[in-house]
């Protein structure tokens, strides 16, 4: 493998696969950062489990492009990544991590359920597994979200503040036509959590076009360090 970035000729199919895969990889990477540092031992296992599901989904999606999965993960520059900005933001506190996991998983859940019958046989096959995994991610995140929102004054404050901070990043989680359904999915959980969804206003976007936050470059610098440092090596 070379160390220089790969050039991609993105067909619409490849772009779709990369968008889905990059969301899964980057969120999986962020969740994996919790390993060894989570609030309880049970939650260590759960977050690692979700991260593993997501990295597994990313691998299957990268493989479906016909391009080497590691070249795609390790030898693209930030502007070549298609993930939503929400997934690359640093983990913040546990409330931020959970609110993000919930909001993103709710969008993925709807997508994967719909994709089970997709015309593209690769996407349909991946969806068969991903829809079950994602349904669990939504449930796990929702359980915590309700505990945090309706727990103590401090946990409520942290959860609400995470929700406020993340809301402007949710615009690019779904196609605009799918947003009402997404709002309909997240609303009842937020209500049970006694949290107030901010009104839809200005939305920060750009991830799908490769215009990222400052955070993705740092994430990739860390993730890609070995393949970039040792050209041609096999690991």
């Amino acid at each position: 493998m070379a160390t220089t970035s790969i050039a991609l000729d993105e067909s619409p199919r490849i772009r779709t696969l990369l968008t889905l895969a990059d969301d899964a990889l980057i969120l999986g990477h962020r969740l994996s950062e919790w390993t060894g540092h989570a609030p309880t031992l049970e939650e260590e296992l759960a977050l690692a489990n979700i991260a593993l599901d997501l990295i597994g989904q990313a691998r299957a999606l990268y493989q479906a492009t016909g391009i080497d999965e590691d070249a795609l993960a390790y030898l693209r520059d930030p502007h070549q990544f298609r993930n939503a900005l929400a997934v690359e933001l640093p983990n913040g506190d546990f409330a931020f991590t959970i609110v993000r996991l919930f909001l993103v998983s709710a969008a993925s859940d709807a997508f994967w359920r719909g994709a089970v019958g997709a015309d593209d046989p690769d996407i349909a096959a991946i969806a068969g597994k991903a829809e079950k995994e994602t349904a669990y991610h939504v449930r796990h995140a929702a359980d915590w979200l309700v505990r945090l929102g309706d727990g103590t004054a401090e946990s409520h404050r942290r959860a609400q503040s995470a929700l406020d901070a993340l809301w402007p990043y949710t615009g690019e989680l779904t196609a605009s036509a799918d947003r009402p359904a997404w709002l309909h999915a997240v609303g009842p959980v937020l209500q049970r959590a006694t949290l107030t969804p901010p009104a839809d206003g200005w939305m920060q976007s750009g991830g799908r076009q490769g215009r990222h936050t400052e955070h993705l470059g740092h994430l990739l610098a860390e993730m890609q360090v070995l393949p970039r440092t040792y050209p041609g090596a096999t690991w």
Binding site: G36, L45, F94, G151, T152, E154, S155, M223, P227, W235
Partner: protein
């Protein structure tokens, strides 16, 4: 909670009919179960050993966790994450096994965070390169298996049963680690050098994982009598060296021990003198990463306090509403 009942039971080692019956059951290879009579010292010994083991699994997540975000391929990233997750799982069921002896996980964790409990000295060494991840799997997990396979026949039932699953997963980790090192050794000169450097740094600390020499060990005699332990530290260490040296030679690596040689008469690999002063220093808190490891756990514990409080508060609200 079920296990708290055990706290109040009066047990004394002086009660000799009980003690005799207990030892007779051990001698007959029967398993001792949580509600069975057992000498206080047996209970203390097991709590100490099982909780140290659990702490080691949890602290052990840190040096390997250090490379999850830098794993060099997606396959390696997933495998490492799964491995570290397995270790968390081992910690969880070992704490549960310890709880059957009448202690709580919170008490045990408090002992760890306040520096009153020990964990394996090996996790106080740093993981400096990717080769360390392979080497930990190959050597550290390899050494752990040598120690732990006999524990599957430990006289205390819950511990023995936990160890069966732990050992199965550790064997997988060991093979996975060896395969990482093998890939490096067959790779570029830089990768091979990385593997050699890792072996140089980890070999001697791994030999100390089996504990002090038999002449110094404080707990071995009673542990052997109670069949908590079935082989001495030195016997297990030798078994590990004999199994591992040919693997290292197969990899084309050199062990950092000029005295290492095969004793034709005994068939054992003889190794040089272990630096026990370093071992004692690391155990006493003066290893390269002792402070960082404990600090990382304390930070996770402290920063997680509001989350655990929230979960308890929510559960209480639900109970009150029901």
């Amino acid at each position: 909670m079920y296990t708290q009942a055990l706290n109040t039971r009066e047990t004394t080692t002086e009660s000799s009919p009980d003690a005799d019956r207990f030892q007779a059951r051990i001698d007959a290879e029967e398993r001792i179960e949580p509600n069975d009579w057992m000498p206080d010292a047996y209970r203390r010994s097991l709590v100490r050993q099982i909780s140290q083991h659990a702490h080691s699994e949890v602290i052990g997540m840190l040096p390997e966790g250090n490379w999850i975000t830098r794993a060099p391929s997606l396959r390696r990233k997933a495998a490492l994450l799964a491995k570290v997750q397995d270790e968390g799982g081992h910690g969880l069921y070992l704490y549960s096994a310890a709880e059957t002896l009448g202690v709580t996980r919170e008490e045990l964790q408090d002992q760890l965070l306040t520096g009153r409990a020990r964990y394996s000295s090996i996790f106080n060494y740093p993981t400096l390169t990717w080769a360390d991840i392979g080497t930990i799997g190959w050597l550290v997990d390899g050494a752990a298996i040598m120690n732990q396979i006999p524990l599957c026949r430990c006289s205390y039932g819950p511990y023995a049963r936990a160890m069966i699953r732990v050992c199965r997963e550790e064997s997988f980790h060991q093979r996975q680690g060896f395969e990482i090192v093998l890939t490096l050794c067959r790779g570029t000169p830089e990768q091979k050098a990385m593997a050699q450097d890792a072996l140089n740094r980890w070999w001697w600390p791994c030999l100390t994982m089996f504990g002090p020499p038999d002449t110094d060990s404080q707990h071995s005699d009673t542990s052997m009598q109670w069949k908590i332990k079935r082989f001495t530290n030195d016997a297990l260490r030798q078994k590990f060296v004999d199994a591992t040296v040919p693997q290292g030679h197969f990899l084309g690596l050199t062990f950092p021990d000029p005295d290492l040689h095969l004793d034709e008469a005994t068939g054992h690999w003889q190794f040089g003198a272990i630096d026990w002063a370093e071992f004692r220093a690391v155990l006493a808190g003066n290893g390269p990463c002792n402070r960082e490891r404990l600090e990382a756990r304390r930070k996770a514990h402290d920063e997680g306090a509001w989350v655990r409080d929230a979960a308890l508060a929510y559960a209480a609200k639900q109970r009150n509403a029901a």
